[in-house]
Assembly symmetry: C2
Homo-oligomer: 120 residues x 2
Amino acid sequence: MSNTKALPVLEPEAVVPCCPPLTDASLSEEDAVRMAAMFKALGDPVRLRLFSRVASHEGGEACVCDIQDVGVSQPTVSHHLKKLREAGLLTSERRGTWVYYRVEPSVLAAMAGMLSGVAR
Amino acid sequence: MSNTKALPVLEPEAVVPCCPPLTDASLSEEDAVRMAAMFKALGDPVRLRLFSRVASHEGGEACVCDIQDVGVSQPTVSHHLKKLREAGLLTSERRGTWVYYRVEPSVLAAMAGMLSGVAR
DNA sequence: CAGCTGCTTCGATGAATATCAACATAGACA
DNA sequence: TGTCTATGTTGATATTCATCGAAGCAGCTG
């Protein structure tokens, strides 16, 4: 397969056109695919722990070196961080030697909104 | 697997011992596995649409026959509904010919709480 | 420049998952 | 009883995914 060097980062608006509530019966397959991708990103224990560690860091920002002790190899950590990035849940930035990850609050808020609309 | 025909009382088999917020740095691997399973259940487009259809039905309850038109075969629908059941997101009950599914609000509220704590 | 460290990407592999057709089961009704 | 409808289960298959070791890249420091 010609693995393109496709840019890893989806446009934020493409990731979250902002989610209709789950109580909306007319949830299209297209929307379902996009929303499912966000939930799927948090549907792995390693990714959930990585995300939790970033979110719990002061300023919502953490260096990879501070969070990578989750019981899997370092390449695997990088792989999962990439998945979280592609899902729009995290953003990354290299500053000198280290790479810092931070949470994307708008995406999380959208997910929470979908769920709380159902749970009331 | 016919459950007792008792009233829909809260099951003590709580799938959700209730979730610490994602900003809790001390998220154990055990907790991560349990929480990830819930997100994973909604991490599939077909399941998300099925869940949405149940949630959007009046009373939060729907017959399988009303929601199974999601583009996959009937056994596949049954398979996904079982997954949602095992994740604690839906409960099912047979009444006569049809089987009815309803949402489990407490689980959804817990998930929303985890996310909103981060997205503040 | 050379070596070192932090992180990502590549290639391979075993496990999990989604899907369907076929079969099984449960209730309604004649 | 037997047949029909509505769901669930089984078995098989193709695809996706998580994981690792090795290699590559970027930035620091001597």
